[in-house]
């Protein structure tokens, strides 16, 4: 309801109008400042060579080629692991546990908690479990696995929502046809739940790309081109962090990398909201 409820009547109403518009103006101003600043400083440095060249002089000059590669690899690992597990758990939760069973409740509750856990804590866990216990060291593999743990809650919850959105009548009619439960899931439910899955996937990828804290001590710092999954690789967000904190004179490239990251994320979020509004007729999952 963007309609005017009524015209401003008295002092208090005027005050409220001023307050609300003021707040909105302030928020807009700060955000335009922030975005403008990044675009302004970043745009002049972005070029094809910047995207492909390796960083030189600790990143002060040169590009972000290897870093993009590492980022993609980390994401790749994260998705290969989290997708099957995520879908599996979601199917289990939505189809094989009732809303009120103890197992379902506990799992759901812990997923909600996990979704809220600070990423640095995931980082700690990843460091202890993947790097140390499993002996993977600082590597793209441990980074990707850690991120997988992080995005799983989101993925599971939104896929589960997708499954629940499938009308019960589908289930009943397939059961009436005498099809087995597995067939039902594979042929009827999975396709129907794809939209929910996609939204969850895109949101998860967004969260993973933006992540820094969990990666610092799992995937490591090294800015070379990674040679294998067991190599340490530097993600884009860590690159920005490192350039701005530890490398004096790295601001220009930091800005450019930040712009790249923001554009990537915008594309991802755009896809998510597009999927949520047009690809399907269900409510968007907001994180």
């Amino acid at each position: 309801m963007a309609q005017t409820l009524s015209r401003p009547q008295n002092l208090r109403e005027w005050f409220a109008v001023a307050l609300v518009w003021g707040a909105a103006a302030l928020v807009t101003a700060v955000f335009c400042w922030l975005l403008g600043d990044i675009v302004w400083h970043g745009l002049s440095h972005i070029s094809w060579t910047f995207l492909t060249a390796p960083p030189e002089n600790a990143g002060r000059r040169g590009g972000i080629g290897p870093i993009l590669v590492s980022t993609c690899l980390i994401l790749g690992v994260c998705l290969t692991v989290s997708l099957p597990i995520g879908i599996g758990t979601a199917v289990l939760l939505a189809e094989f546990t009732s809303d009120h069973s103890l197992f379902g409740r506990i799992t759901r509750r812990s997923l909600d908690v996990l979704a809220g856990v600070p990423s640095i804590v995931f980082g700690l866990f990843g460091n202890a479990f993947f790097c140390k216990t499993l002996g993977l060291g600082f590597s793209i593999l441990s980074g990707g696995l850690t991120l997988a743990c992080m995005v799983l809650p989101i993925l599971i919850r939104s896929t589960e929502e997708g499954f629940r959105a499938v009308p019960t009548s589908y289930r009943l009619s397939t059961a009436a046809l005498g099809l087995s439960r597995t067939t039902t899931i594979v042929h009827i439910l999975l396709p129907a739940a794809v939209p929910g899955l996609l939204v969850g996937l895109v949101l998860g990828v967004g969260r993973a790309i933006a992540e820094t804290a969990a990666l610092i001590f799992t995937s490591g710092y090294v800015d070379r081109m990674p040679e294998s999954l067991l190599d340490s690789g530097r993600a884009l967000s860590i690159h920005i962090f490192d350039l701005s904190m530890n490398v004096s004179g790295g601001d220009a490239n930091a800005y450019a990398s930040a712009l790249v990251l923001v554009i990537l994320l915008l594309a991802i979020n755009g896809t998510a909201s597009w999927l949520a509004t047009y690809g399907l007729q269900r409510k968007a999952v907001t994180v």
């Binding site: 309801m1 309609q3 005017t4 409820l5 009524s6 015209r7 009547q9």
Partner: protein
């Protein structure tokens, strides 16, 4: 801004004069060639009608003929609906309702509205009554308490809720909620009450209670009531107006005293409609 009598506590109760006020031809609201369009679709057209002071006027007619839309014009609730266009003139006393510089806040205070579905706010019973009063400038605690008690007594709710004024209003029964909404409107000392099917969401018992309440308000307030219950309209109304859909838009077909409309209708449509009541 039109000078409106300030709210200073409960208005002295008129002795119930029973229809006496209504018998005089004293018109309070004059509606002149009023039409309303939702975007380009007309809801009703060319309604000319005068409403007498202190009377109960029933608006009847089939679903979708624009009765609700008509009521919302009178307190300019139409302002809230995007794409809603109104033409024509409404005069209440000497206040031009549709004029752009009319103070809608004061206008709506003078004209209370009761909706089909009871809509108490999700607050306590007391807050439901106190909050509008305070917003309209009544600060004195004693007077507020006094007003709450009188209006709740007026709607016959006082004995039922006096011990739980601070419990949520939504925990009341449907009939009680509707009476609370009426009390909420009465507390602001309106002159006119618009009631949009106030009994249709209620069971027969609560409906009867609300109906008695409406009758008891006659002559203190000028009441416009929309109802699909023709026997009810007949029981309580002094005047009746029949709306009908013609050429895709609502029209006022016939207006007269309740007795005349229900017993000797002039228009064949009216005759058919009210005989549905008998049949």
């Amino acid at each position: 801004m039109t000078p409106v009598e300030p709210i200073t506590g409960p208005r002295a109760r008129h002795p119930l004069e029973e229809r006496s006020v209504c018998q005089g031809p004293q018109s309070l609201i004059e509606i002149d060639r009023l039409s309303l369009y939702y975007v380009d679709k007309p809801a009703f057209q060319d309604v000319t009608l005068s409403i007498n002071k202190g009377c109960i006027t029933a608006l009847v007619g089939p679903s979708g003929c624009g009765k609700t839309s008509f009521l919302t014009c009178l307190n300019r609730l139409t302002d809230l609906i995007a794409g809603c266009r109104v033409s024509g003139r409404i005069m209440i006393d000497d206040l031009d309702v549709m004029a752009p510089d009319t103070d809608v806040i004061q206008l709506r205070r003078r004209i209370g509205m009761i909706f089909q579905k009871p809509n108490p706010f999700p607050l306590t019973i007391r807050r439901n009554l106190v909050f509008p009063l305070r917003e309209h400038g009544l600060r004195d605690r004693g007077q507020i308490a006094q007003t709450i008690e009188t209006t709740l007594r007026d709607v016959g709710l006082w004995d039922e809720v006096k011990d739980r004024l601070d419990s949520p209003a939504l925990a009341l029964s449907g009939g009680q909620q509707q009476r609370l909404c009426i009390a909420r409107a009465l507390a602001l000392l309106p002159e006119v009450l618009l009631m949009d099917e106030p009994c249709s969401a209620l069971d027969p018992l609560s409906s009867g209670v609300v109906e008695d309440l409406i009758v008891s308000l006659r002559s203190r307030y000028t009441i416009l009531i929309v109802t699909h219950n023709l026997t009810q309209a007949r029981r309580i109304a002094d005047h009746a107006a029949l709306f009908w859909v013609q050429n895709g838009a609502g029209r006022l077909i016939e207006v007269g005293t309740a007795k005349q409309i229900f017993e000797e209708p002039r228009d064949p449509l009216t005759a058919a409609y009210v005989s549905g009541m008998r049949g």
